[in-house]
Symmetry: C2
Subunit: 233 residues, 2 copies
DNA sequence: ACCAGCGGAGTGGTCCGACCACTACGGCGC
DNA sequence: GCGCCGTAGTGGTCGGACCACTCCGCTGGT
């Protein structure tokens, strides 16, 4: 009955909510240092072990950062910090869920590319071009993949929405791309990939959002369709 | 037994990666039960405390589920399980990042609504209608919000992409909506919201994807613009 | 006066052992 | 055969000890 100060679930869970609330309410600013583990534990009346579990959980979520010997700090709370865990989703997903993730990526990537076409700066466009040529100049799959990722990363950054860029980054996490990519490229899709990348680049140079959207959607859609085919039969 | 290998970072981090790898490689299936904390700790040659921190972290990420007195289990690894942490991002974001999140929502929600227009079943359409009328039949903001959330949730579910639905769910988490909603509706936006919801519903009934896309984009876009205005001047 | 080096205080990281709270299961009594 | 109950085993919590690292002020030399 006394809902005032009951123990909801585990004490660790309570500690997590407590710290989250402190940040949400502005009692803790990004970059600020927290009291020591021992202090925090004492304040909430729990053991240091339980408090450590709470801190560790928030560390993994990208909310806190523990510096050995120095203290615990709130991260900058940038999109990248918080959405890093998105990569875990991509890494652990399989089967139909992979297709769904690619569908989400197709939607976001096409929009991001369209925005980039309208906003991209000349210097950034040069960076995109650099990765495009580097990608076509080598046969090492590992290197190609790296430039492929950088190619799309530059475009996402040019769209001007850090949150979207962070999500796309997670959807292109190394292991995710590696798993899908390997099989896809084994079927001689290199040439097609090159054409698609070239098309995206042309649309960016032409500052043509709709062409960029179509090219990006088609690019991701090709992989999506291939993967869908892998699952069915 | 003794891994002469170098210890990358903390032992807890290593344990987290280890368990994640077990799942990614299929050594652990969804729903399967893990060895006991004491066992796992012994296998990796670390203390139970450190192993507990690893398990807690993965629990918060929605990868594992600990049942007191029973054991530790891998979750179903459904989109909802893994993307629950997405709500944390929404809750801790502020200022410009809120606008970015709304922009992402606008993109996904408009596409989801378009897909729903083409695929929605009659029974689900009836559910959407139910929430629409219930939303218009009350003046309690709390109740309106609840039906508003359910309205969009039904539509997202009808789009047939669980991953997208889970992301949208996170972007509409209670505290997120509550924070933005409150200010927005204070300015007498109820009438406008009703019109927009009605427009979305009409497009669904007409099975018109493009109309649905436009209506949804406009709906979210209105809030987005309002919020953008709140920040600037 | 200045600066390099050292050392100690304080922090997070790890480990241990004990106990509590809860669940599951099998045996006991009816 | 059924249901109750005890017990073994599990995760949850606690307190303390020690280690590894960082930071900063002090010391000693120049």
């Amino acid at each position: 009955m006394d809902e005032a100060a009951p123990q909801k679930g585990t004490v660790t869970q309570r500690a997590i909510e407590e710290i989250k609330a402190m940040i949400a309410e502005g009692r803790l600013e990004p970059g600020q240092r927290l009291p020591t583990e021992r202090d925090l534990a004492a304040r909430l009346g729990i053991s240091r072990s339980s408090m450590r579990e709470a801190i560790r959980a928030l560390t993994v979520l990208g909310v806190l950062e523990a510096r050995h010997g120095s203290g615990i700090y709130v991260t900058a709370l940038e999109a990248g910090d918080l959405l890093e865990t998105f990569g875990v989703v991509a890494d652990l997903s399989r089967g139909p869920r992979l297709v769904e993730l690619l569908e989400v990526r197709r939607i976001l990537e096409s929009t991001a590319t369209a925005l980039a076409a309208a906003r991209i700066s000349d210097s950034r466009l040069a960076a995109v071009e650099k990765h495009l040529t580097a990608m076509n100049a080598t046969d090492d799959p590992e290197e190609i993949l790296a430039h492929d990722l950088a190619f799309h990363r530059e475009i996402a950054a040019a769209a001007g929405n850090e949150t979207m860029a962070a999500i796309l980054e997670g959807l292109s996490s190394r292991t995710f791309r590696a798993r899908v990519w390997r099989g896809y490229q084994e079927e001689g899709a290199f040439a097609r990939t090159r054409r698609e990348h070239a098309a995206i680049h042309r649309a960016l140079v032409a500052r043509d959002p709709e062409a960029a959207r179509a090219a990006a959607a088609s690019h991701v859609g090709e992989v999506e369709e291939w993967l869908r085919g892998q699952l069915g039969p």
